[in-house]
Amino acid sequence: MTQSEIIEALLAFIDQDGASEAEFERMALAVFAYQFAHNAPYRRFAIQRGRTTLTVRSWRDIPAVPISAFKTLTLSCTPPEAAERIFMTSGTTQGGVRGKSHHPTMAVWSRSMLVNFRRRFMAGRERITMGILFPDEQAMPNSSLAHYLALAKRECGTPDSEGFIGASGLDLPRLIAALERAEASGEPYALLGASFSFVHLLDALAAQGRRFALPEGSRILDTGGFKGQSREMGADAFYDALSVTLGVPREACINMYGMTELSTQFYDDGNAVCPPVKSGPHWIRSRVVDPVSGRDLPEGTTGVLVHHDLAHFNCASAILTEDAGVMVEGGFRLLGRVDGADSKGCSMAVEEFLRAARG
């Protein structure tokens, strides 16, 4: 398939109501064939693993690229300089080296995001007033989250939606004013942003002794964890604090799980109970594998998550994450990052060595 053919096929696939195993498989094999043909580093990787278009028969056989590969290899089916957009990881995990994902067009990414966002966050509403707790796209042009939030605001936010993180951080007075307006208006309000920004907000409101009771139907979307940018909070403490401080029940606090190395996001249906079940739309499927052998683990066994995102057509659709998870009915539970293990004895381990080298 050519690039325009694959894009057209994917847009149509996303617009379908759902996909059977066979339909997903067919599309996945087509995307794999496309990537195998046009993405030279991925082809070498696949061959090294003994997987070619001749040997791969099922989507589960498609070799998953470890996300660290996005840091060392340029995984793109088109010349990287022709990309409309390059998303980069924050570089917090590996000494400033940033993983890159090239997007020759944003059409598939945006369709994937919006169709899924409307279904999982908007809860049937066309638009909602949004407050964004994350820098905008001008400040962070390579951030997939900044783009995600901009798209959400533009396509699903009311005109009075606004962002509250500027060059000097959280604009608390303006945000408090917006929350007061929302409280008075009786119209549902949505706060969306990085998990660590919510911690900053909670701390700031606690310092002032402020609490809000946002109108019924209000929602919160947090994503990304704390990444050392705020104090760490346990999930229960975090969602309890959000619901007490903002008056949004934990069932209406949605956590989005997304990655720079994907073009599709996962959501839960609220955080009344943690960790909740996460799931994605019909064009992404996940597996939990033994990272050493790459083989699927039985449901209920903890392993490392592999995502197979057809919308990430230009790079590598199958990725091996650094997230621990367990498959359950209706999706998977996310159990946090798999950090490199420290030695259990007195032998130096890679993680510690890197930490020491960074000083």
């Binding site: 650094e322 798999v338 004895g345 032998s347 890679v350 510690e352």
Partner: protein, 483 residues
């Protein structure tokens, strides 16, 4: 099965809070109860041990301590002894190492602490071990006596069975009142050893305690650090830094950080007759304790120019690891460890794409991983758990500059080279920071009396009291028989 860890002389078990740690491996489960002492109990226990050591242990001649330790080790070496049987039954479940590895590893290791070997420990550090018993004439004149710590605190780390015995026994040889904190990953052996000692010599059993607290529990740690005058700690640099900050400045702190071991193989060792057996020894060093020991090899530098090329040698090591796996299967890895192995392996695969001569041998699902690199590389850790990188070099002279940047983490290097070459390269390695050079197959079995991390096991623990000649002369003037 339920085991109880620790040894708490003078503290009734019923007054202590116990926490249960769960272990499972090889299809079996074990529970280990570990004591959680209050600060008050810790203080009382420290006082008890200190006082018993003062009134009893310090009065024993060192030869008698050696005899008692020897008797205790003999029991642990006796495969019919109930305690040894328990160790063989429980340690595989607790540590995850296979039964045969535990059996062989324990026997090999414990042999270092029999009476003749303990004499060697003493002789290595003291020209005249009798300085531990009383004043002995000093070379410079006058007299010298060595005193061990009143209370020596060991903070052990890791799941290499018996690692704790090295410093525990060193402390007892210098008559230190001893408190050892066991690691959650292997909380049992030190306590068993203490109980055996107590059975052989009940009064000696009062002079040492084996305790537990959760690693990093600052409060529990502080309660003990207040009491000790000497602290030996094992762990990663982060953990050691945290402990050091809490050690009173008046106490002596002896840290043992994590290390990276490596090996060097000269071209002369790579003829067709020698390469096979050598590859087997390398594989044994790699598989022993899943490379968790400070002495475990993580990288191998192999010289070109032998009949067997470095690449072929890498294949042979990979085959030997494959064969070893049948007899000694790798222990089950945690998700984090497995992810670490996978990440290391795929990272090396990516390197191979750049065609720098990196080749990943074997399949991802194998229970081991060997990576061959045709280009010289700086010493760096592997993913442990039977993962090894083999780097080809033109000559062993290339190696010291490749390892010296990791100077702070060097300790053991195995060398296979001719005698002249061994001494020449040893000088360069010593300069680079290596403190122990051994043969392949012996990396995980340091000799009795080995100077761990290049330091003195016993001498670092003691404080000398010297009677100067002036005091002697002055005393002479005061003798009742003075003229």
């Amino acid at each position: 099965m339920i085991e109880t860890a620790g040894h708490l002389p003078g503290l009734p078990a019923t007054e202590v809070a116990w926490r249960t740690l769960d272990f499972s491996a090889w299809g079996e489960r074990a529970q280990v109860r570990v004591p959680e002492l209050t600060a008050k109990q810790a203080g009382a226990l420290a006082g008890h041990v200190r006082e018993q050591a003062r009134s009893y242990l310090r009065t024993l001649p060192v030869s008698q301590i050696v005899a008692t330790l020897d008797a205790a080790i003999a029991r642990l070496l006796d495969r019919d002894d109930p305690c040894r049987r328990r160790a063989e039954a429980v340690l595989p479940i607790v540590t995850g190492y296979d039964r045969e590895s535990v059996r062989l590893g324990l026997s090999g290791y414990l042999r270092s602490f029999r009476a003749p070997q303990l004499q060697r420990f003493l002789a290595e550090d003291f020209a005249n071990p009798a300085v531990l018993d009383g004043f002995q004439p000093a070379m410079k004149g006058g007299f010298t006596r060595a005193h061990g710590p009143q209370l020596l605190l060991h903070i052990w780390a890791g799941n290499v069975p018996g690692l704790s015995l090295w410093s525990l026994i060193s402390g007892l040889l210098v008559k230190a009142g001893t408190v050892g904190k066991v690691a959650s990953a292997e909380p049992l052996l030190a306590g068993w050893f203490a109980q055996i000692l107590a059975e052989i010599d009940p009064k000696l059993g009062e002079c040492l305690a084996v305790v537990w607290w959760k690693g990093g529990d600052a409060e529990a740690e502080r309660a003990w650090l207040r009491e000790a005058d000497t602290v030996i700690a094992y762990g990663g640099n982060d953990a050691l830094t945290a402990i050091r900050e809490r050690v009173p400045v008046t106490a002596r702190f002896l840290p043992h950080g994590h290390r990276i071991g490596f090996g060097l193989i000269g071209a002369e060792a790579l003829d067709t007759r020698r390469a096979g057996p050598l590859a087997r020894l390398v594989a044994q060093d790699v598989a022993r304790w899943e490379q968790q020991g400070c002495y475990s090899p993580q990288m191998l530098f192999v010289a070109r120019g032998g009949a067997v090329s470095p690449r072929e040698f890498a294949e042979r090591v990979s085959q030997e690891l494959g064969a070893l796996r049948l007899r000694h299967p790798r222990r089950a890895l945690s998700v984090a460890e497995a992810a670490g192995v996978a990440d290391w392996r795929s990272h090396e695969e990516m390197r191979g794409f750049d065609e720098d001569g990196t080749v990943v041998l074997g399949e991802a699902g194998d229970g081991w991983s060997v990576v061959f690199s045709g280009a010289a590389q700086l010493l760096a850790p592997s993913a442990l758990n039977r993962t090894l990188k083999i780097v080809a070099v033109d000559s062993l002279d290339e190696v010291p500059p490749l390892v010296s940047p990791a100077r702070a983490y060097l300790q053991t290097a195995a060398v296979a080279a001719s005698p002249r070459e061994l001494f020449r390269i040893a000088a360069l390695l010593g300069e680079a920071g290596v403190t122990r050079i051994c043969g392949f197959g012996a990396m995980a079995a340091p000799e009795a009396g080995w100077h761990n991390d290049g330091r003195f096991n016993l001498l670092d623990l003691v404080r000398l009291t010297e009677i100067e000649q002036s005091a002697e002369r002055a005393a002479d003037d005061l003798a009742p028989y003075v003229d």
